[in-house]
């Protein structure tokens, strides 16, 4: 009996804890594969220790032959260290947004904005009756929904790294002390990736479903841009992040300098990283009849476009890059994603799916007002009112101008 009570109390305590600190379970789940991987690597080492030579082959060419060597102890330390650091990183990444998310959810719930232009007095019962789509369904306590993607990647990385280390230990043991004889065929690399994928799938399952951000059902009170029926408008602006440009250039320089010295396969990491960072260091953001488009400043591709049909409402708001998104670049967080190049003014889209998409850009209020107007227009369009046909008229007009222009 006493035991029973003890368990119940424990459960209740756990629940209370979960509602106050929803991130804890997720953080544990996120970090868990790394200690497990450490244990696997350590066990393998202990089992093989007698057969392992002093110096291990630790780096292999594409044909499977060894071209890099290090001491057995150093290799084990490097393996365990890498896994522990990765574990801490993944745990932290899942933990950090939890704090920002929670406060965001609470603030949103408190604001309780109205929906679809229905007067505020009627809004509450109206949107309660509208069902799950617009009801504020997410409890503040469960706000941490999903670092599911992060956790999945974490498991994959843990599986991949652990397999690589264990496989290296085994081939060294199999070579029977002749370190140069140790070979790691490419098939082992494929097996490592396979292990990573399986581990990632496990992580995906363990992470559980992402809880969407509370839908505040806001609408109607967002700014609009006065636009005549026949008028067409487009807004665009470039943004750039000096920090990311500098980081990208440093990485690129590092890659180009180390390339000739250490081999281009070693330099490919920094170079690819540099290109990724540089690709996100500057962006052009455009809002027009097609929705919101984000592209590199000078090239039309790669392109991310959110069509008007997917936008419920646009607004401008202040963003704290580190606290809300855990960093800079293209950020994905539970219930929200977007391009975060700095803190400060950002265009915030509330999507039909209930999620939020942000781009840190100046003059966001104008873009938001324009998008809201265009969304209104698109909503009115299919009902056969005057805006629809007019909208489609613009296209032909544009092509009509072609002969005139080329002549």
């Amino acid at each position: 009996m006493a035991g029973h009570w003890g368990i119940t109390a424990g459960q209740r305590g756990g629940e209370a804890d979960a509602s106050e600190r929803p991130g804890v379970r997720r953080v544990i789940v996120a970090a868990a594969p790394f200690p497990v991987a450490v244990a696997v690597v350590a066990t393998a080492y202990a089992r093989l220790a007698e057969r392992l030579p002093e110096t291990l082959a630790t780096h292999f060419r594409a044909d499977g032959h060894a071209d890099g060597f290090s001491s057995a102890g150093g290799f084990l330390a490097a393996g365990i260290g890498t896994l522990l650091v990765l574990g801490a990183l993944f745990g932290l990444v899942v933990l950090l947004p939890a704090a920002g998310r929670r406060t965001g959810a609470v603030r949103r719930t408190r604001e309780g904005r109205r929906t679809d232009g229905v007067p505020r007095v009627d809004a509450r019962p109206a949107f309660a009756a509208k069902g799950p789509a617009s009801a504020a369904k997410a409890r503040p306590g469960s706000a941490l929904g999903a670092a599911r993607a992060v956790i999945t990647v974490g498991y994959g990385v843990a599986g991949l790294v652990a397999y690589a280390f264990v496989a290296t230990l085994y081939v060294n043991a199999a070579a029977g002390g002749g370190r140069a004889a140790a070979a790691l065929p490419l098939s082992q690399l494929a097996a490592a990736f396979g292990t990573g994928v399986v581990a990632a799938a496990l992580g995906w399952l363990l992470a559980g479903k992402d809880t969407p951000l509370p839908d505040d059902g806001s609408g109607g009170d967002a700014p609009r841009l006065a636009l005549a029926d026949s008028e067409v408008a487009g807004w665009s602006r470039t943004i750039s992040s000096p920090v990311l440009y500098a980081l990208g250039l440093v990485l690129l320089a590092a890659g180009l300098v180390t390339g000739p010295v250490a081999g281009w396969s070693a330099a490919s990491g920094p170079i690819v990283g540099a290109l990724l960072v540089l690709a996100l260091a500057g962006l052009r953001v455009a809002a027009d009849r097609r929705g919101l488009t984000v592209t590199p400043p000078l090239l039309p591709y790669p392109r991310m476009r959110i069509p008007l049909e997917r936008i419920r409402e646009a607004d401008s708001r202040e963003i704290a890059a580190l606290r809300e998104f855990g960093g800079w670049g293209y950020r994905m967080r539970p219930g929200r994603s977007g391009f975060v190049l700095r803190s400060g003014e950002a265009l915030s889209l509330r999507l039909v799916s209930g999620k939020e998409f942000v781009v840190t850009v100046g003059d966001a209020a104008t873009a938001a007002a324009l998008l809201n107007t265009l969304v209104d227009r698109a909503d009115a369009g299919p009902k056969g009112t005057d805006t629809g046909p007019k909208g489609t008229d613009i296209g032909p007009k544009g092509t009509d101008a072609e002969p005139e222009g080329t002549a």
Binding site: V232, A233, G234, S236, L370, I394, E402
Partner: protein, 123 residues
Amino acid sequence: MLVRIDPASAVPLGDQIAASVRGAIADGSVRAGERLPAARTLAGSLGVNVHTVLRGYQRLKDEGLIELRRGRGAVVTGAASPALARLTDTTAGLIAQARALGLSDDEIVTLVRTGLNGPLGAG
């Protein structure tokens, strides 16, 4: 930068685009050194032909507000101050008003030259 055009208006679309950009420079939302969207991008955005946008850009270039460089696109010049953009706008208004009164181009130039030689409407 917000560009708005009205296909139903009598004003050529290229001029409307130029007017939008000029307005953006005038109110300071586009600054010197800033790059305008590529003509193709803006054309896609507004659903007009690329040449229409290029006509508008050419006009802004003639006014000294932007530079057009191959490969670099349209960049707002250092000389393009908000005040200059406003002045260009005012001039456009002057011309429109004069034409509405039925003045010929020569008559408008004469009017401006007279103004340069001595203050108009002062006496």
